[in-house]
């Protein structure tokens, strides 16, 4: 059964929390770029892609990386994929 938007959001936050354990994930703004809020660099961003692949078998092709810009756009992109 497909995951709901809330479940996807929680799953993505869990991944980000693992990658950026020093950051305050709870205070993240859904509409602001993720990388600007918690200082992720390109290698960290690739960790998000890798964890989505490992944990949810979701492939995010390089052309779609921009879809993961904000938490809201990420949830919208992943809806139906996991």
């Amino acid at each position: 059964m497909a995951m709901s938007k809330d479940e996807i959001r929680a799953a993505v936050l869990e991944i980000i929390e693992e990658i950026a354990p020093d950051e305050d994930i709870a205070s993240m703004n859904d509409e602001e770029p993720i990388r600007e809020q918690i200082g992720l660099d390109s290698m960290d961003f690739l960790d998000i892609v890798m964890e989505l692949r490992k944990q949810y078998k979701v492939e995010v092709p390089e052309d779609d990386y921009n879809e993961l810009r904000t938490l809201a756009s990420t949830v919208a992109y992943l809806e139906g994929k996991m």
């Binding site: 990658i19 950026a20 354990p21 020093d22 950051e23 290698m43 960290d44 690739l46 960790d47 890798m50 692949r53 490992k54």
Partner: protein
């Protein structure tokens, strides 16, 4: 020696202490720390494990992204710089170099990735993009520069179990050449995080075993049966004497001499003739006679073959009835591989201040082939004054590195 180079700061982590005072206290008290440790594919193995505070100098994110070797290096480098009272922010960090001796690097990271890949049926799209920056040979030193915003040279010196001494020697040479003004130098090891090192020593019948982990590593004892692998690190700040004096630095000791050479006889077995030549050449560079050395720290890994060979090399240089005090460190926490030389030197440096020689422990019955008149066993000795230390480190592929440190005097 072309220039006078001195030690002005010490940063270390070991299974028996995460600072020099604690390490020294446990060495003098004869307190070992070897624990049984889980590793992949094998029954638990005895190991020397460090418990330094990782987040003292690193964010959790950086620790996750980097390597254990990098983390150990970062801890030791920060501790050394703080101990030396060097303010990196107030100096040109293009003139600071980081030179880290390593036994090996990349095994831990590769094993982790292969184990991860197995979970995904060896589909390489699950192989981490972090693998290359984690496993490049300069990783441990490079992580230090990243962490401390240092812009001078950095590299790792791969020299098997002689790497700790090699790192110090390389750092001193960079100072002599005028390439840097401060060298952060020594050795580190993350080796216990790879099953391969244990499995390989076991296959070679060189992995120590005993029902009590703390009694496994037994240099010079008739019942010694092999190596205990340990992790650890010890980095020093080295400076030219005039620079150290100009800023009123505390001076732990002066590099009086050193030498490195190669057996070229065997992949693993040591060659006492070359070890002796290495000690002699270091003495010559120091302008010293054997009788000028007050204390020798043996490499002594507690293998049946290695310990008596080293003692025979020492006898050939210093004589059968040499008065020089002799000790070894590996009975306490095992063999810290790339860190061994620099950590073992650190354990003896306070002898310049207190005149006490820490013992080699776990020797219940001395192997006659390892006997020397002033071999300090099981109990510390009040030696009076210690002015010079000769530190031996030898490694696979026949690499030998001998370092002579003397008490600083005007």
């Amino acid at each position: 020696m072309q220039k006078r180079i001195v030690i002005t700061g010490v940063g270390l982590t070991s299974p028996i202490g995460n600072d020099l005072a604690t390490l020294r206290q446990n060495l003098l008290a004869g307190k070992p720390n070897v624990q049984m440790m889980e590793t992949r594919y094998m029954d638990p193995v005895p190991a020397g494990i460090c418990d330094y505070e990782v987040t003292k100098y690193q964010t959790r994110k950086d620790a996750r992204r980097g390597t254990r070797a990098g983390s150990i290096s970062i801890y030791c480098a920060n501790e050394a710089v703080n101990d030396a009272g060097i303010n990196l922010k107030g100096m040109d960090t293009n003139r600071v170099g980081v030179f880290v001796g390593t036994t090996e690097h990349g095994n831990v990271e590769t094993e982790n990735e292969v184990a991860n890949l197995k979970e995904f049926d060896y589909d390489v799209k699950y192989w981490s993009h972090h693998h290359n920056p984690r496993s490049v040979s300069n990783n441990p030193a490079g992580e230090v520069n990243l962490n401390m915003d240092i812009h001078g040279p950095h590299c790792c010196i791969g020299a098997a179990c002689a790497a700790g001494n090699y790192g110090i020697i390389y750092g001193a040479q960079q100072l002599m050449l005028g390439e840097v003004d401060v060298a952060i130098a020594g050795g580190i090891s993350e080796a216990i995080r790879t099953f391969g090192i244990f499995a390989s020593f076991k296959a070679q019948n060189a992995l120590g075993h005993h029902e009590d982990p703390n009694k496994t590593s037994r240099p010079f004892d008739t019942a010694r049966n092999g190596i205990v692998v340990a992790e650890g690190g010890c980095l020093y700040t080295l400076e030219r004497l005039e620079d150290a004096l100009a800023r009123g630095a505390k001076i732990y000791g002066e590099i009086a001499g050193y030498h490195t050479n190669t057996d070229a006889t065997d992949f693993v077995l040591p060659n006492p003739e070359r070890q002796a030549e290495c000690m002699q050449a270091a003495l010559k560079k120091a302008g010293m006679e054997p009788g000028d050395i007050d204390l020798i720290n043996c490499h002594a890994t507690a293998t049946p073959e290695g310990d008596p060979k080293e003692i025979s090399a020492i006898k050939s240089v210093f004589g059968e009835d040499a008065k020089t005090w002799i000790n070894a460190t590996k009975g306490f926490y095992g063999h810290a591989m790339g860190a061994a030389g620099s950590l073992e030197l650190a354990g003896n440096l306070p002898a310049f201040e207190d005149g006490v020689v820490h013992p080699s422990i776990n020797c219940d019955e001395l192997d006659p082939a390892c006997a020397m008149p002033n071999l300090v066993l099981n109990k510390a000795v009040e030696a009076g004054e210690i002015r010079t230390i000769l530190n031996n480190s030898f490694g696979m592929l026949g690499t030998n590195a001998v370092l002579i440190i003397k008490k600083y005097q005007d």
